[in-house]
Amino acid sequence: MPAGLFHESYRSDERIFQTWFVRSWLIVFLLGCAVAPWLVSKYMLSILIEAGIAIIACHGLNLLTGFTGQISLGHAAFMGVGAYACSILNGQAGVPFVPALLGAGAVTALVGMVFGIPSLRLRGLYLAMATIAAQFIIEFTIRRWDRLTGGVEGMYVEPGKLGPFYFNDHIHLYYLTFILALAVTMATKNIVRARSGRALVAIRDRYLAAEVIGVNLFKYRLLSFAVSSFFAGLAGALLAQYLEVITHESFTILQSIDYLAMCIIGGLGHILGGIFGVAFWFILERILEVLTTMLNSAFPNQVTWFVSLREIVFGLVIILFLIFEPDGLAARWRTIRAYWKLWPFSY
C-alpha cells in the first residue's frame, strides 16, 4: 500500500483504483487504446482486434480455471458455439446484431452448463477430461451438422451492423471489441470481488471446507461455467466477425490449449493475468514472425520454420513459466511494483 493513503470510509476502501496516480495512468491507457486505430497500420489493427478477442476469452477461462479451479481444455470449442450461434442468429434468422451477440453468449452459456453438470461429482483431472470430451463433441457437431454450420467448408459470416456502424470495417470492429473487452474486464473484476467471487475462490482452495461454511458447490460451479462460457461466446461471436468465414479449424483443441497457456503465463487467478498473458503471447508471436521472416530470407528452402519455431518457443515459454514463475506475469508485476515503491529502503 502506498504511503499516505488513508481510507476514511468503506466506500473508499472498496475502490478498485485507489490512488490518483493509478487512475490517471488508467485514463492515459484507455485514451491510448481509443486513438490507437488512427495511429497504427492496418495489420497492427487486426492484431489488436485479435488481442482484444483473446482478452475476453481469457477472462472467461480465468474465471473458470483461475478462480474456481476447474481446468477447462474446451474453451475454444465454446467460442466456436458462440461464433456459429451469433452468425446463424444474425445471418440466417435475421436477428439484429446486438441481440444476436447476447443470444450467442446465452446459447454458449447453456452449452457450457450442460458440460458443467458433471463437475459436481468430478474434480481436477477428471473434469479436465470432461472438458476435452466437450471439445471433441462440439467440434464434431460443427463439422458434421452441415445444414446448420456448413460443415467442413465453413460458413460465411454476415457482417453485423449497429446503426451507422458496420463491423466488417476493422476500425468499427476494433471499437466494438475494445468496449466489450473493457466491459468484460470490469464484470470479471466485480464478480471476483463480490460474494460470488469469494465463494468461487473458496471452492478452488478447499471445496469441502467451502461446502461446510455454506457455499452451494453445485450452484457456484455451474455459475462459473455459465459466466465463463458466456464470455467465450461473446469472444467467439467477435472472432466470427473478424474472420468473416468460420470453419471448425478455428476452434480446435490446439486453440483451447493456447488460451489456457495465455492465462497461465499471465497468472491464473488475477484479473490482470488475462491481459498480461494475451499481451505477452501476441508480442512474442510478432517477434517470432519477424525472426522467421529473416530466417526464411536466409534459408529460403525451409518453409516450415515459422510453424516449428513458434511451437518450440511457446512450449519452452510455457514450461519455463511454470517452473520459474508459476503465478505468472501478474505476480511478477506485483513484486516489481512493491520493490519500486519501497526502493531504496526495502526492509
Binding site: I132, F136, V307
Partner: protein, 296 residues
C-alpha cells in the same frame, strides 16, 4: 455362418486389434499416473516422435525394421528420462493445473521439433504385406493381427512384471504410498524415472503400430487424446482397467462405425468421447478405479 454375425465379427475383431494398441498407450498413461500422479497429455506426441524416429530409421537410413525398432526403443528411453528430469521433477508438489500444463507445453515442443525435422507430410511404412488374411470369412490385414499380437505380448509381459519383478513391485509400492515406500528404502525418484521410460517405450511401440495402420503424420498425436476415454473408462489408477478400457473403446469405436454410420456419418470419431462423458456421469472414478471417499 450367417451374414449378420460375420459383419459383427469383422468390426469386432478390427476393433479389438485397434483396441489392443489403445490399451498399450493407455497403459503408459496409467503407469505415469499411478506412480507420479501426473496425467501425461503429451503421450500422443511421444507416440508420434517414436513413430517418426522408427520411420526415418527404416526409410532414410535404410536400417531393417528390427534394428530401427531397437534404435527407437533406446531413443524413447532417453526421451522419457529427459522429460522426467527436466520438465516434471521441478514441479513435484505443484497444483494439478501446472503439471497438466507442463505436459501440454511438451506437446508444443515435440510437435515443433517433429515439424522442423520431418516436415508436414504424411508418410507410410511399408513393412507388412497388404493382402488381408481370410479368417473364416472375416478379413483382417496382417497389420491388425500383428498389432494385436505385439500388444498382447507386451500387456502380458507388463502384467507379469508388476506381479513378480522387483522393480515392478517397487513401482506398485510407490503408487500406493510414496512416503511409506521411501521409508522402506525404495528410491522414489528412480521409480519415477523408470515409469516415464516404460511409458515412453510403450507409447512409441503404440505409435509405430498406429503409424503402420494410418500413416505417420502430425495427426498421429490425436490418438493420444483418443486414448483418454479408454483410461477414464477403466479408471485412471488401474492397470487392468486401462487394458479393458482400451479394448472396449477400440471395439465400441469400430462397432459404432459399423452400425451407426448410416445414421450419423463418421460418428466413430466422437463415440469414445460420448462414452467418456457418460462414464464420468455415472461412475466418475472409472470402472476399476479407486473411489476416493472424503470425509470432513
Amino acid at each position: 455362418m450367417p451374414n449378420e454375425f460375420l459383419f459383427f465379427m469383422q468390426f469386432f475383431l478390427t476393433g479389438l486389434s485397434m483396441g489392443s494398441v489403445y490399451a498399450l498407450v493407455a497403459l503408459g498413461f496409467v503407469l505415469i499416473y499411478k506412480s507420479t500422479s501426473i496425467l501425461n497429455l503429451a503421450q500422443g506426441e511421444i507416440m508420434m516422435v517414436g513413430a517418426y524416429v522408427c520411420l526415418s530409421m527404416t526409410l532414410d537410413f535404410g536400417l531393417n525394421f528390427m534394428a530401427a525398432f531397437a534404435v527407437t526403443m533406446v531413443f524413447s528411453v532417453l526421451l522419457g528420462l529427459a522429460v522426467e528430469r527436466l520438465a516434471l521433477r521441478p514441479l513435484i508438489g505443484e497444483p494439478i493445473i501446472s503439471v497438466i500444463m507442463v505436459t501440454l507445453g511438451l506437446t508444443y515442443i515435440l510437435r515443433g521439433v517433429v515439424i522442423m525435422v520431418w516436415g508436414n507430410d504424411i508418410r507410410q511404412f511399408n513393412i507388412f504385406p497388404q493382402e488381408p488374411i481370410d479368417l473364416w470369412g472375416i478379413k483382417l490385414t496382417y497389420l491388425y493381427v500383428w498389432s494385436m499380437g505385439i500388444s498382447l505380448v507386451l500387456l502380458t509381459f507388463f502384467a507379469v512384471f508388476f506381479k513378480y519383478a522387483r522393480t515392478g513391485i517397487f513401482m506398485r509400492a510407490v503408487a500406493d504410498h510414496q512416503t511409506a515406500a521411501q521409508s522402506m528404502g525404495i528410491s522414489v525418484k528412480r521409480v519415477f524415472a523408470i515409469s516415464w521410460c516404460i511409458a515412453a517405450v510403450v507409447s512409441s511401440i503404440g505409435g509405430i503400430l498406429v503409424g503402420n495402420i494410418a500413416g505417420v503424420g502430425v495427426d498421429l498425436s490425436h490418438i493420444g487424446l483418443k486414448v483418454l476415454p479408454a483410461v477414464i473408462f477403466g479408471g485412471l489408477d488401474s492397470i487392468l482397467g486401462a487394458i479393458i478400457g482400451g479394448l472396449a473403446v477400440g471395439v465400441l469405436e469400430f462397432l459404432s462405425a459399423g452400425y451407426l454410420d448410416p445414421y450419423i456419418p463418421a460418428i466413430n470419431e466422437v463415440f469414445p468421447f460420448i462414452i467418456l462423458v457418460l462414464v464420468l456421469m455415472i461412475r466418475p472414478y472409472g470402472l476399476f478405479g479407486i473411489e476416493e471417499i472424503e470425509r470432513v
